[in-house]
């Protein structure tokens, strides 16, 4: 199979997947395809999507590929869907999530130490929204639960992996300059 033939097949598969589909999954579905060809076809497809004049984008999210609408057209889509953006996370939840994302795995007392404020409710909210998940227990007195971010976190925040977040040290300036 040539790369030109492979591209539309991959496009169709990525379109149909309701979660970001990984290269491994694609390779499993297409065992007859050489892995290098698969990668080349995916790259070519991505480049095509990057071209202007498209309503859709092909992104790498949570270690997989996903086709989604481009953010600039959200007004039109909302007109059609007749929906409003879903409720945002509170600043308390976002702060807690940020601490967990950078310091994972981390326990509730450790989160509270950094934020200087009780964070139990925020952690509960994040667990309910499946943005974080328990990652075992810390072998200290009381064996507190360790929390880490989930795959859902990557999907909801449009990240391919955690390394896409800027280094925490680089965020200092940003913090003192805004809000």
């Amino acid at each position: 199979m040539t790369i030109e033939e492979l591209k539309p097949i991959l496009e169709a598969l990525i379109f149909v997947a309701s979660e970001p589909i990984t290269e491994e999954e694609l390779a499993r579905i297409l065992p007859e395809v050489d892995r290098a060809d698969l990668e080349a076809a995916l790259d070519a497809l991505r480049q095509e999507y990057e071209a202007d004049g498209r309503g859709l984008e092909l992104r790498r999210v949570a270690g997989g590929y996903r086709i989604s609408t481009r953010p600039e057209y959200h007004d039109y889509i909302r007109r059609y869907l007749k929906t409003r953006p879903s409720a945002r996370l509170s600043m308390a939840a976002l702060e807690t999530l940020a601490v967990i994302a950078y310091k994972q795995p981390i326990t509730l007392p450790e989160i509270q130490e950094i934020r200087g404020v009780n964070s139990a409710r925020a952690v509960k909210t994040l667990l309910e929204k499946r943005l974080i998940e328990p990652k075992g227990r810390k072998p200290v007195v009381g064996r507190p639960i360790l929390y880490g971010t989930s795959r859902e976190f990557l999907i909801q925040f449009g990240l391919n992996d955690l390394s896409e977040l800027p280094r925490i040290e680089d965020l200092e300036e940003l913090g003192s300059g805004s809000s």
């Binding site: 989604s68 879903s86 702060e95 940020a98 940003l174 805004s178």
Partner: protein, 266 residues
């Protein structure tokens, strides 16, 4: 104060503008929720006073901090314990700084002696995560504007195929045939009414999310019981207490509680 009066006042407050001293306290009610804790409040005060985080004028900031807590009290807001702990910490640092330095102390230990050091470390640390939270906020904001294709009706996502009356009849038929083969030797006639059967099914559905109707048909001990069971199922479907589904065509029949309609008729 009338409601729209109050709204007018709300609109007077320019967004993002830090509150000035001497303003009526109701303006603070709007701003109070903004702070995520004592560290956040301290950062705000430091920014407002335009002082360096590395050299906090502790007396001035402490005074402002306490002033803020007083206003919270005036407004009858419950002050979270963390705010009080921080107030105590600030006062402690302030008092330590007022004390004359021990003249016998070796001067090189001076840096380590700054009573503000630990607080500054915490503020710097917290500030980073506050920035990270803002970053996540902007990322989430972008994602809100993105739509991916919804879930398809695959067998995985939706294992239920709606069952038809025909499917119900087929299951009944099959059970009847099987029953014939069994030749039960019951002499005493079993007296079971449809009302009892319906009650039995309802009780079963109370306990279980889904009831395997095919299995019930198969378990029927007599032709009569089977017929009554069949009628009971039909009745429950009619009054919308249950919904029949199959996991595949011609597969086993399952009864599910029909959502929010169980109270319609009894």
């Amino acid at each position: 104060m009338r409601a729209d009066d109050w709204l007018d006042r709300l609109e007077e407050i320019p967004p993002g503008e830090p509150e000035r001293e001497g303003e009526p306290p109701h303006r603070y009610t709007v701003k109070l929720d903004v702070f995520e804790g004592p560290l956040d409040l301290l950062l705000h005060l430091i920014k407002k006073e335009q002082v360096s985080i590395y050299d906090i004028p502790i007396a001035r900031i402490t005074e402002q901090y306490l002033e803020y807590l007083r206003r919270m009290q005036e407004l009858d807001l419950t002050i979270a314990g963390e705010y009080l702990v921080m107030a105590a910490t600030l006062i402690y640092i302030k008092s330590k700084m007022l004390l004359p330095r021990d003249p016998t102390q070796v001067p090189e230990a001076e840096d380590e002696e700054d009573p503000r050091r630990e607080l500054v470390q915490r503020l710097l640390e917290y500030q980073k995560y506050k920035a990270a939270a803002e970053l996540l906020w902007s990322k989430a904001e972008r994602e809100q504007a993105i739509f991916a294709r919804g879930r398809l009706e695959t067998d995985d996502a939706n294992p239920e195929v709606n069952a038809t009356l025909f499917d119900l009849l087929c299951a009944f038929q099959r059970a009847m045939e099987r029953l014939k083969e069994r030749r039960e030797l019951t002499i005493a006639r079993e007296e079971i009414t449809m009302a009892e059967k319906i009650a039995e099914l309802r009780a079963l559905l109370e306990r279980e999310e889904r009831v395997d109707i095919t299995a019930l048909f198969e378990a029927a001990r007599s032709r009569r019981e089977l017929v009554i069971l069949f009628l009971a199922v039909l009745e429950l479907v009619r009054i919308a207490v249950i919904r029949l589904v199959q996991t595949e065509r011609f597969g086993r029949l399952l009864a599910l509680r029909a959502r929010a309609s169980a109270e319609i008729v009894t």
